[in-house]
């Protein structure tokens, strides 16, 4: 029983991180109907910038989270300006995705050349503290992850639901042209979305660093699951992404426990493909008939 509880806790921790990454993807898809394939690499760079802030510059861990937020946001701004904005409405809708695949491959291998393949030991001061309840435990780092994620997600949710900007964002997601006619500048909002989404990714990286192995490919291990989450939760669906993220986190921890870590990807993707076959619109189905 305690094993199940323990894995449950681990699952929630992982799930929280995945939700942060997946929410970013969901937000971007919501406003642009596009996927930023290089989202993963923003996570990785966020992790590396936090690492170097701590171990290179000697900053505090919590401050490094802030640094990764900024780095992430900056990268988001850059990618939107360089890729998504110029390609808006031009050519096949797959072009931005392909371009970001190019960016992703470039970033990963440039990081590989720069940082090397050997994992960096990213120690956060919270990694070693442990809270125990009954037979289970949670490291302070993991508790921090869950806490920060929960707060961030909560803030984001409130922002989307209750503030004017948030509603404007949702308006642009539903109908870009009309939103524009209403006096909202869709381009600015898209940019804002990108910055927020990428900042989230950067922050996720900073929190991931101490938990996972920090290599140039750290983001990749997360992104593949993040994609699965976005599909399972329903593209563009906020609540769905949260639900699916936690689900995938739990699946991963239980799979690791009972089937071995090698099976994680297979199980997650098998679930993904099953979802696609049965219910392509995701857990919280929002049937969008194409406007003919």
């Amino acid at each position: 029983m305690t094993i199940i509880l323990q894995q449950g806790i681990n699952g929630v921790v992982l799930g929280s991180l995945y939700v942060l990454v997946a929410l970013g993807l969901t937000l971007i898809y919501g406003v642009l109907v596009q996927i930023n394939f290089a989202h993963a690499d923003i996570v990785t760079l966020g992790a590396f910038s936090a690492y170097f802030f701590m171990h290179g510059v000697g900053g505090g861990y919590l401050a490094s989270i802030g640094v990764s937020l900024i780095v992430g946001g900056a990268l988001g701004w850059l990618m939107n300006t360089a890729i998504f904005a110029p390609l808006q409405g031009k050519g096949s809708e797959l072009l931005p995705l392909i371009a970001t695949i190019g960016v992703s491959v470039t970033m990963e291998n440039a990081m590989l050349a720069w940082f090397g393949p050997i994992p960096y030991a990213f120690d956060s001061p919270y990694s070693n503290e442990v809270f125990r309840f009954g037979g289970t435990f949670i490291t302070a780092q993991n508790a921090l992850i869950v806490a920060v994620s929960a707060v961030t997600i909560g803030l984001l949710y409130a922002f989307m639901k209750f503030t004017f900007l948030g509603k404007a964002l949702r308006a642009v997601a539903q109908d870009r042209e009309t939103a524009g006619l209403m006096g909202i500048n869709p381009n600015q909002l898209v940019m804002l979305t990108f910055v927020i989404a990428s900042a989230l990714a950067g922050m996720a990286g900073a929190m991931l660093g101490p938990v996972l192995v920090l290599t140039p490919f750290a983001g990749t291990s997360v992104i593949v699951k993040a994609f699965a989450i976005v599909i399972i939760g329903g593209f563009g669906n906020f609540e769905g992404a949260i639900l699916a993220g936690l689900l995938v986190g739990l699946i991963e921890s239980f799979t690791t426990q009972y089937l071995g870590p090698g099976m994680i990807d297979i199980v997650v993707f098998a679930l993904l493909l099953m979802m696609l076959a049965i219910r392509p619109t995701g857990l919280i189905a929002e049937k969008r008939e194409e406007n003919v």
């Binding site: 996927i35 072009l95 392909i98 470039t106 099976m263």
Partner: protein, 343 residues
């Protein structure tokens, strides 16, 4: 003067009609293939040429699905791997002779492509890309983890090349000789090109193009979009499977890492840089991206960085790739009175 297809690079100025110019091109290609191993006699370059030919096949397969049917298939690495492993396992475990095993590998890859496509049938472009990526990841993990079948990361060793070919009246052609192996693989690559080219020039090509441009419209003209997408995937996967069948015998050792998802991105780069809307473009892209890192020795490690940058720049500035660049260049060179570059 063929002006029914204004976007094609026909050397009509030579006075050849479209059929004549195609036959000339075919002849040139065949001659080039015949001559290459005679020019490059060392093992290193002959190996590169064979890799080139394999990549050409992979690029053709992906181009059919992406460039013509408009489906972003990121699973090509999986079909490549399936082809390689299926043929190898049939040969080493079941003692099946090479060519039937090869056929089996092609059939199995084709089936895998069909299955993936059926799953993804109702999906929009991005969903499909992710689903195909998922498929590639799962396939890789299966190859890596199903140790009893594939021996996992340790790999399968001592895989023989295709057995010697005895044609009546000629001495046996031994495929340990890299020149002969190149002829075989390049010959198949040329064959794949011709096959796919014929399909493209038929109503099938028009159907796929229509589906790529606008599925709703295509359906309103009676085209069964789902079925054709499955067809395209099947063909693309079959060609990749064939490449896989040759890969194993060529390299001699089979490890799952050769079929990591990076391979899918590499093939994508070749197709995009070459020019998605044409067939000859990705062929050039494959040749260029295979040989370029070898020519620029120092950048060996940064090969993938170069690919990534190339893809991004091409998409942003010249989405039609090398083919479009060539067309623009030729358009400026030839003072044609026709409206050039109608795209």
């Amino acid at each position: 003067m063929s002006d029914a297809e204004p976007a094609r690079l026909t050397p009509a100025r030579l006075g050849l009609g479209p059929i004549g110019s195609r036959r000339l091109a075919l002849l040139c290609a065949a001659l080039t293939i015949a001559v290459l191993p005679l020019v490059f006699t060392d093992t290193y370059w002959r190996t590169n040429l064979i890799v080139c030919a394999l990549n050409v096949m992979l690029a053709i397969g992906l181009d059919f699905v992406l460039g013509y049917a408009g489906q972003l298939n990121l699973g090509q690495s999986a079909f490549y791997g399936i082809g390689a492993y299926v043929s190898t396992l049939l040969i080493t475990r079941l003692g099946v002779p090479f060519w039937p095993a090869f056929a089996g590998a092609v059939a199995f890859s084709c089936l895998a492509g069909v299955v993936l496509s059926l799953f993804a049938m109702r999906l929009r472009g991005h969903y499909l890309a992710i689903a195909s990526l998922g498929f590639a990841v799962i396939t890789y993990q299966i190859l890596l983890n199903w140790i009893s079948l594939t021996q996992g990361p340790l790999g399968i060793y001592a895989i023989p090349p295709p057995p010697p070919l005895t044609l009546p009246g000629l001495p046996a052609i031994d495929f340990h000789d890299l020149a002969n192996l190149f002829y075989l693989v390049a010959g198949f690559a040329l064959l794949s090109y011709l096959l796919v080219d014929q399909l493209i020039r038929s109503p099938i090509g028009e159907t796929l193009t229509a589906i790529r441009e606008d599925e709703v419209s295509a359906a309103s003209l009676g085209m069964n979009c789902g079925a054709w997408k499955v067809f395209a995937f099947g063909v693309g996967a079959a060609v990749a499977g064939a490449a896989g069948g040759f890969y194993a015998g060529f390299v001699g050792t089979l490890v799952p890492d050769a079929f990591f998802i990076t391979e899918s991105f590499t093939i994508l780069a070749m197709v995009v840089v070459g020019g998605m809307g044409t067939l000859i473009g990705p062929v050039c892209g494959a040749i260029l991206l295979t040989l370029l890192p070898e020519l620029l020795r120092g950048i060996g490690d940064l090969r993938l960085v170069v690919y990534g940058v190339a893809v991004t720049l091409v998409v942003l500035f010249i989405p039609g790739g090398i083919a479009e660049a060539a067309r623009l260049a030729l358009g400026r060179l030839g003072r044609s009175s026709r409206r050039g570059g109608a795209r």
